[in-house]
Subunit: 316 residues, 2 copies
């Protein structure tokens, strides 16, 4: 059986491409130039588009803005921080990570179709010298950061008039001149907060594990995106207490360590790359996703939702 | 800490309501009439709206259109079939269930941010007498089934001009007079198919476990929705083969049994109820979700996405 049904042994990367933003690590990515992106009347599948990308179509997340979190059992999660949109929070998280402050903390909450949350659940883990818990919220920016291009999606969005990508991040605006905010899509990471807006000091972080809870936009500071290892956060047992908190400490998954990539020896850094959302290749991929030409598909959607458009990630 | 962050012991149902469509089983639901729904300038939280519903605001899924699937370890999943929109597939699934045909099969595929899939992966499990694998597709209906009311959402949707709920199901239309189709939202269940449109004979079923893959709409037959136990399908380990298939049979989760509710003694049937999407209570709940008045929220989204609007489910 094919397509959405089970397979014997006839999976092929072209016919059944990954539909999400994450290129499975086992899919070989060719660096061939096929010139396919110049042709608006494409006939390629999303996987074929990715196979035809050039090295320059991909960016390497900055090692000083990307962290590797290792969970118990060797499960590794790579998170890129959205420094252009949340400079204070990116700096705070990098500082806490470099202090090895997250080491030994745990995943404390998994609420189905919502979030997985980790960090200092009890608020008792002493902060490094010079750091206080409060941190001014960064729910939005008054306008796009200087030099950042907005790649608008023509597609409708329930929550905002203008949506698209900027510096690789999913963003929304009600007016084109701002303010601009990041969107709660699957795999996005935020900083939990108390009732006060400025209380999201990154002592606790969460990742979205369900349908984008966009009503959280502008209510809490998103700080980045899980680039690799999202399955380790999404497949955890759900907590049975209110809001998905675990009932007992024993149910928690320990954070063995969290390190900025530039803390690691070069050979230990995951060679992760993200498709540039300013590239023609990204536009071709979007178009292939809007109108699937894979054999299995019978109907082209002609549209794509912002949260189904997060740029693909690959290992070099 | 409050809100999105971890709690000590101050969780309250009002302040931190379930944000999704599923009312946790531990939340007491009062049957009080507060008259809140008559007031468009609401100040209630979604949980408060639900607490003020009346018994008549809820419907009990028909026992002959709802099944209980028990997985290894006693994990129970309740699925309602969307008979008004997919009469052939609902009938086929009920027939296979009553033949106890799914018993002993397994979950064979879990692809992150996409689907969990179960059934006869190898296509070798003999079908009951009189049933052939092929079944005419039910991707859409020419128009709303007779007598079914459409509760339209005023909110924008990326994929269709008109979206809302009909007989409790999330539906989309490009034109108001049809065709009408069900939408791939978190928790919706479909019938896997081969390359041929009519090959989705319900030998394999899948549930959506990520951001709504709406590009599957009109490409494959949705058959119903997981009402209870969705966490048992969403928290499974992801498969490491292409498309999230498990590499070995040992990784699969066994289906102990699947039964239509009317096959079970009355005391074994889960007392599940779904908020009527035609009710004023549902409209009040939608409005409370669009503009959260919970203390924690600082900004009202004013909109809601179709897949964030699936009607709440509760245990009576």
């Amino acid at each position: 059986m094919n397509g959405m049904t089970a397979q014997h042994s006839n999976h092929t990367g072209n016919r059944y491409p990954p539909r999400g933003g994450l290129v499975p690590w086992f899919v070989p990515i060719a660096g061939l130039v096929l010139g396919a992106f110049a042709n608006p009347g494409h006939t390629a599948s999303p996987a074929q588009v990715l196979a035809a990308t050039m090295a320059a179509d991909w960016r390497t997340p900055a090692p000083d803005q990307t962290l590797l979190m290792e969970l118990a059992g060797g499960r590794k999660v790579v998170i890129e921080l959205a420094a252009p949109f949340v400079p204070r929070h990116a700096n705070r998280i990098a500082t806490l990570t470099r202090a090895h402050w997250y080491d030994g903390l745990a995943i404390v909450r998994v609420q189905d179709n919502y979030v997985t949350q980790w960090g200092d659940a009890e608020g008792t883990h002493p902060l490094p010298t010079g750091i206080t818990k409060m941190l001014a919220a960064e729910f939005s920016q008054p306008a796009l950061p200087a030099g950042v291009k907005f790649t608008q999606l023509p597609d409708r969005d329930a929550y905002a008039r203008h949506v698209g990508f900027a510096a690789g991040w999913p963003v929304a605006m009600e007016k084109r001149n701002g303010p601009v905010w990041m969107a709660h899509c699957y795999g996005m990471v935020g900083a939990g907060r108390d009732a006060e807006a400025d209380s999201g000091g990154a002592g606790e972080l969460y990742a979205v594990i369900g349908h984008g809870p966009r009503h959280l936009d502008l209510n809490i500071t998103l700080v980045g995106r899980v680039l690799l290892g999202m399955e380790h956060l999404a497949a955890l047992p759900r907590g049975t207490e209110a809001l998905g908190f675990y009932q007992t400490p024993a149910e928690r998954t320990a954070i063995v360590s969290a390190r900025m990539l530039d803390e690691l020896p070069a050979e230990q850094r995951p060679a992760v790359e993200v498709l540039r959302t300013e590239s023609a290749a990204y536009q071709a991929w979007l178009e292939a996703r809007r109108n699937r030409k894979d054999d299995w598909f019978l109907h082209g959607a002609r549209h794509i939702d912002l949260c189904n458009a997060l740029p693909p990630v690959r290992l070099r």
